[in-house]
């Protein structure tokens, strides 16, 4: 059995990210303890994320220094929750720098799943805008889901940034064409992805070491469960078949999402 590798915890946030699919699957392998990477993945390096803390730097040429903002412009930015992550009304849970190495792996695994969901819903919204195929209510929900999943991605990147941990690179995803053409196909796949995400968080919950990471994961997990209920309801299914959620192992989660990750 391969020894699990600990993600390097250092403050060098300028280190290039690992290649996308292999990096995410490696994190899955760390969690599982023994996972054989299948196939070969490209080794294209990707630019590191800047994160919401803005502490990282990119190897790209620095942007030109912007002109100083007027007081009115500054206030508009501060008061705009979409541009100011520190807006007092935003209550995104923030973990302290206490994420343990194991927690980093778990958060990176979750990040991969959130990347998947965020990309999925964003594409669905775009597809509907190109050719309306969803009912108004379903489209409205898809938009909300896209926004929420993007928030989850940002929040995990923020936590990893605060812990000076390297976030896994965003993989490239591929989805069946019919989800962009038919509402039922979209809802079916959405239901699968949400149940998988919910089960993944629940399966990982006992393994989370730091309290802050656990609280954050729980806050995201709870919403994933709500997503599942609404999607099932829209799909004509029972919104809550059981009295408790079902945890999924890393292996099961990986099996379910691997088909959507581009090699």
């Amino acid at each position: 059995m391969n020894q699990p590798q600990i993600v390097i915890l250092n403050s060098n946030l300028a280190t290039p990210r690992d290649e996308s699919r292999r990096a995410w699957l490696r994190h899955a392998g760390m969690l599982a303890g023994a996972f054989a990477l299948a196939g070969t993945a490209s080794s294209e390096a990707q630019t590191p994320a800047t994160g919401t803390t803005g502490a990282a730097t990119t190897p790209d040429a620095p942007a030109a220094t912007p002109a100083p903002m007027t007081d009115r412009e500054y206030l508009s930015v501060v008061e705009d929750k979409s541009t100011n992550p520190n807006h007092p009304e935003i209550t995104i849970p923030r973990a302290s720098k206490t994420a343990r190495p194991g927690d980093v792996d778990i958060l990176n695994f979750a990040l991969g799943l959130e990347y998947l969901e965020a990309d999925f819903y964003a594409r669905i919204v775009q597809a509907h805008q190109n050719r309306a195929y969803l009912s108004p209510r379903v489209y409205q929900i898809a938009q909300k889901l896209a926004a929420d999943e993007a928030s989850h991605v940002e929040a995990i990147l923020d936590i990893l940034g605060r812990a000076a941990a390297t976030p896994v690179a965003k993989p490239q995803f591929v989805f069946p064409e019919n989800v962009f053409l038919g509402q039922l196909a979209f809802l079916d796949l959405a239901s699968t992805l949400e149940v998988t995400g919910t089960g993944a968080y629940l399966g990982a919950a006992p393994k989370v070491q730091s309290n802050d990471a656990l609280k954050f994961a729980a806050s995201v997990y709870g919403i994933e469960a709500r997503h599942t209920a609404i999607i099932r309801m829209l799909n004509g299914q029972t919104f809550s078949p059981l009295a408790s959620e079902i945890p999924l192992s890393v292996e099961e989660v990986t099996r379910r999402v691997t088909p959507f990750i581009v090699v």
């Binding site: 006992p206 709500r226 599942t228």
Partner: protein, 224 residues
């Protein structure tokens, strides 16, 4: 007092009330397969876990009572089938959850009583179990308003307990239940024409939840 489940427990009240009391051998009632496995009995009972379980048992008891009353109320009978089915399903699952917490508390040795009352740790005086006492329901809006309020507090309380629990198995068990409670909340919100979800759940403290549910009959003495 006879216990519906355990019959060979010690009668020493100090032993029963001790947080580190070790359960005598006894089988707990098997629960529905849909519920998570009970957390393994810890060698040393963690006070936070114990207190949380005691609190959540009372909370889910109140919620279950409310859900049942709401589902059986006169206004509920006149609701569209979709809404009636949702309320019935929620009531059924809330009842399962209530019974799970009753058994879980017994597993942790805080109190073997899965029956009608809990014990005040200081005085051994039996505490009345929480019953929803906010009167009857007169219309659909009142049903959903109360349902959303109680369910929202339950979801917040469970997520708060998830963040505080020490036993990893209990973390998962509480989270598993909290997830479905969130599904209930999403569905109730949808039916009430309100946003079904936000970006992140908000955990709530036991004290905050107890205070807000006190007007509905929640026994705040369970949190000490």
């Amino acid at each position: 007092m006879s216990h519906p489940i355990e019959t060979d427990f010690p009668t020493d009240s100090d032993f029963l009330l001790s947080r580190r009391a070790v359960l005598a051998a006894g089988a707990l009632t098997a629960l529905a397969l849909s519920l998570p496995a009970l957390p393994a009995r810890a060698a040393e009972i963690n006070y936070s876990d114990t207190k949380a379980l005691r609190f959540l048992q009372e909370l889910t008891r109140l919620q279950s009572d409310f859900s049942l009353r709401a589902a059986l109320s006169s206004p509920a009978a006149a609701l569209p089938t979709r809404e009636t089915d949702a309320l019935n399903l929620i009531a059924r699952q809330d009842n399962e959850v209530m019974r799970w917490f009753a058994a879980a508390r017994g597993k942790y040795g805080v109190s073997a009583f899965a029956g009608p009352s809990t014990l005040n740790q200081a005085s051994s005086r039996p505490l009345p179990q929480s019953r929803f006492n906010a009167g009857t329901f007169t219309n659909r809006e009142q049903i959903f308003a109360r349902a959303l309020e109680i369910k929202g507090l339950t979801v917040g309380a469970i997520h708060g307990a998830v963040g505080a629990a020490k036993d990893p198995q209990l973390v998962q068990a509480l989270a598993a239940i909290g997830g479905v409670q969130g599904r209930h909340l999403a569905m109730l919100s949808e039916l009430a024409g309100q946003p079904a979800f936000v970006a992140f759940e908000t955990p709530l403290s036991m004290r905050e939840v107890a205070g807000k549910l006190a007007p509905y009959g929640f026994n705040t003495e369970v949190i000490g």
